[in-house]
Subunit: 217 residues, 2 copies
DNA sequence: AGCCCATGACAGGTTTTTCCTGACATTGCG
DNA sequence: CGCAATGTCAGGAAAAACCTGTCATGGGCT
């Protein structure tokens, strides 16, 4: 049996090396390229044309979603598994729309990655069990995912929510984002509306759940 | 030569397994315990009393800082290396103050972890080069640093600061503590005075540093 | 092409919250 | 006993947040 050829894209070399070590322990997979940025990731995927590319959702220069899209455009044959810390089901939709075939949480069990790889290799789609149920309830087949989710946050909306969760006032946020306070208020209220957050405490909780409360950037 | 005994604490089993695989490739280290939460981490550290514990900064039930403190209290012999994605130097002080001997970024090179382990094993302190320079400027040797300690917080003051850090309004806090808003305001201002916190963002940072904001679920 | 609507960007005015400046009772400690 | 720290609260001023609109732009869809 020919080995499953895999490329890895993840900033955080420690994590990268870790997954590499993990995969090398599996006899049926063969590593054919690693990268730590979106740009280099795209390059190695095109050059190596692996069976499967495992991509971190958050990369320094572009999101994993963007990389997924670009990689598939240039190299439609690859199957892409997105690896992420985000448990928010809001992410799953754009990821799948971008054409990824797998969505795996970093906090899921280690052998899930191997399972995901095998499943995706066979042409199926793998979703992490922890979110698959949530996501598939509304839309069994197509990922229309209507329902309680008032939509995904735009870039600005997420920026503002992050800063709010970190305790900054609207004024401070306005300063940091270089827009007016009023604009900040708009983003905040739109974002709160979408996610059903009513108080500042809700936003903080949301931020904690998304791992925002640690890195002011 | 006796092997270096190491315990690992990291939520994200994929990452955990990865680092495990990494370390198993090094002949001089021996893995003696893994955990994915602060509570179990504390337990395995106490039970296994490893030479070194590698701890992720953000854990579901408590912060890595809190775990560091607790682990050292019960088991002063262990040397702790904190592993994190956060490059903000604001985290390094509390980490070192808590008694950790190493501070390593996940995005630093893979063999840095081994280097860090060897260095810390010898009794030295390892700081990731990327932030070491920034951090060592202010406090070259001893991390007495503690900033401006205007005294210890009283019970009520700490209660209020915690709630503020979690994003509650004075009114909500008043409700929760069953005192008047005015009383809450007093505690808050006294506490802020003592610790030199001027904005809500300062309070949130203070809370993060003290592990008050780790996943309330 | 034309339309819709999500997004980015603001403003005015009202409502809430927070901040500043006290105040007073209680309690432990030198 | 006096005194400092703490717990408790008020009034009024200042700041922040919130609500309701506006307007432009750029995709997408029909």
């Amino acid at each position: 049996m020919t080995p499953i050829r895999i490329s890895l894209v993840d900033d955080h070399p420690v994590v990268l090396a870790g997954i590499r070590a993990l995969l090398q322990a599996a006899p049926e997979v063969e590593l054919v390229g690693e990268a730590s940025t979106g740009a280099t990731g795209l390059k190695i995927i095109c050059e190596c044309s692996p069976d499967i590319a495992v991509i971190d959702l958050s990369l320094p220069d572009m999101s994993g979603i963007e990389l997924t899209r670009k990689a598939l455009k240039r190299c439609p044959g690859v199957k892409i598994i997105v690896l992420t810390v985000h448990e928010d089901r809001a992410y799953i939709h754009p990821v799948l729309e971008a054409g990824a075939r797998g969505y795996l949480l970093k906090r899921s069990a280690a052998d899930e990655l191997l399972r995901a790889i095998r499943i995706v290799k066979q042409g199926d789609t793998y979703l992490d069990p922890a979110i698959a149920e949530k996501a598939s309830m509304a839309a069994p087949h197509s990922y229309a995912v209507a329902g309680n989710d008032g939509g995904e946050l735009s870039r600005r909306e997420e920026d503002v929510l992050k800063l709010v969760a970190q305790g900054l006032s609207n004024k401070q946020i306005a300063g940091q984002l270089e827009v007016s306070i009023k604009t900040v208020e708009t983003y905040k209220s739109r974002a709160s509306e979408k996610k059903g957050l009513r108080s500042r405490a809700d936003i903080v909780r949301y931020g904690v759940q998304h791992g925002w409360l640690a890195a002011p950037n």
